[in-house]
């Protein structure tokens, strides 16, 4: 019986492949091999890929701004220049990013080096793209985090039972 099984697995190409993938320990190597093949194709065709300069979400750095790495432009109560794929779906575009709480305005007026602190504290820079034009993405990302914590806490708690 055992010998017959081994012979079956070394027959045609198809049966050899199916024998290989029937063991779930070989799953990760098989998947890694597929990724490696596609990545190789990607590396070979890399010269054909061109960067499109006309991006919908352009990013520019202005080192002289107090909000430096996160500055999307715009002053409070005036519309900033923000691109959107469908501007008709975003009537308040440009107004969101300029909003700063009094505390963050104080930080921004006082020092040049608090950009990350301003963006990280509540009511800091509200990124137009993250929270307005592409807000659904942010919601789903948070849901993913919630699911991941739910799974982790379930597995952790199960040990005790």
């Amino acid at each position: 019986m055992r010998e017959r099984e081994i012979r079956e697995g070394h027959g045609s190409m198809v049966s050899r492949i199916s024998r290989f993938i029937s063991d779930f320990d070989n799953l990760v190597p098989a998947y890694a091999l597929m990724i490696a093949c596609v990545a190789l194709i990607g590396l070979l065709t890399l010269p054909l890929l061109t960067y499109e300069p006309d991006q919908i979400y352009p990013k520019t750095l202005n080192p002289s701004s107090p909000l430096n790495p996160y500055d999307r432009g715009g002053a409070p109560f005036t519309a900033a220049e923000v691109h959107a794929q469908y501007p008709e779906n975003a009537p308040y575009i440009g107004y969101v990013t300029g909003y700063l709480t009094p505390l963050s305005r104080f930080f921004a007026a006082t020092t040049q080096y608090m950009g990350t602190t301003i963006v990280a504290h509540p009511g800091g820079i509200i990124d137009e793209i993250l929270y307005y034009t592409r807000g659904l993405d942010t919601i789903v990302e948070t849901s993913i985090l919630f699911v991941a914590f739910a799974v982790a806490s379930f597995l952790y708690r199960r040990r005790e039972e």
């Binding site: 063991d23 779930f24 320990d25 799953l27 065709t45 960067y51 991006q55 959107a84 794929q85 799974v151």
Partner: protein, 219 residues
């Protein structure tokens, strides 16, 4: 609104800013399937499995403990919601996020099994799901970099060329997330108890795979 040979006419769309979810006959059918199975996961009671001893007349009915089941049901509903989001998403990055949520909830469904053999298979499956996020989001990033946009409506029709590598990475990522071709590993997973919830893994992976094929043909 558009009318394409594969996609059919767009029936209606729900705008979320730049992300416009749309329903064409194709995506609407996928969405309804996901909704149906989510409703089944909410309404149905878990099945009780029977162990039959061969050569004898013995039949044992297994009882599944409660809390384990509640978690599995919660994950199945989350998986169904993520699959519903992925099937009607009109944005490649948004689709990728929903897809990775499907992968994560699938891990949750199998992880709630107590069977050692199932958990061993689930571990390998989880590794593939985690790795698959790299080609998935890599593909979306290549699309954004080479075309400048992520909206499927903008990319549809072949006016903007999406490179082959990006499409291949997207398909590979969805394959890893949903384990669509790797039914071998899933056969091990389905030994876990709790039929309506375990089914959600198959349904969601099938739906997101059908959707990504439609997307790469459209763009």
């Amino acid at each position: 609104m558009f009318d394409l040979p594969i996609e059919g006419p767009a029936l209606f769309s729900i705008p979320f800013g730049d992300i416009v979810d749309y329903a064409s006959p194709y995506t609407l059918i996928l969405f309804l399937f996901a909704a149906l199975f989510t409703a089944l996961a909410i309404l149905s009671r878990p099945e009780q499995h029977a162990d039959i001893i061969f050569g004898e007349d013995g039949v044992y009915t297994g009882r599944i403990p409660g809390p384990e089941n509640r978690f599995q049901r919660f994950m199945a509903i989350a998986c169904g919601l993520a699959a519903m989001g992925a099937t009607v998403s009109g944005d490649i990055f948004n689709f990728c996020i929903f897809t990775s949520m499907v992968g994560l909830t699938c891990i949750g469904i199998v992880a709630s099994s107590g069977n050692r053999h199932v958990l061993n298979a689930a571990f390998e499956y989880g590794i593939v799901t985690m790795i698959a996020m790299i080609p998935l989001f890599g593909g979306a990033a290549i699309v954004a970099a080479t075309t400048g946009t992520l909206s499927i409506w903008e990319l549809a029709g072949g006016a903007i060329a999406v490179p082959f590598v990006a499409k291949a990475f997207l398909v590979l990522g969805v394959m890893g997330e949903g384990m669509a071709p790797f039914y071998v590993a899933k056969a091990e997973i389905t030994r876990a108890q709790g039929a309506p919830y375990i089914l959600m893994i198959h349904v969601s992976s099938l739906l997101i795979f059908l959707r990504i094929i439609e997307i790469i043909i459209t763009i």
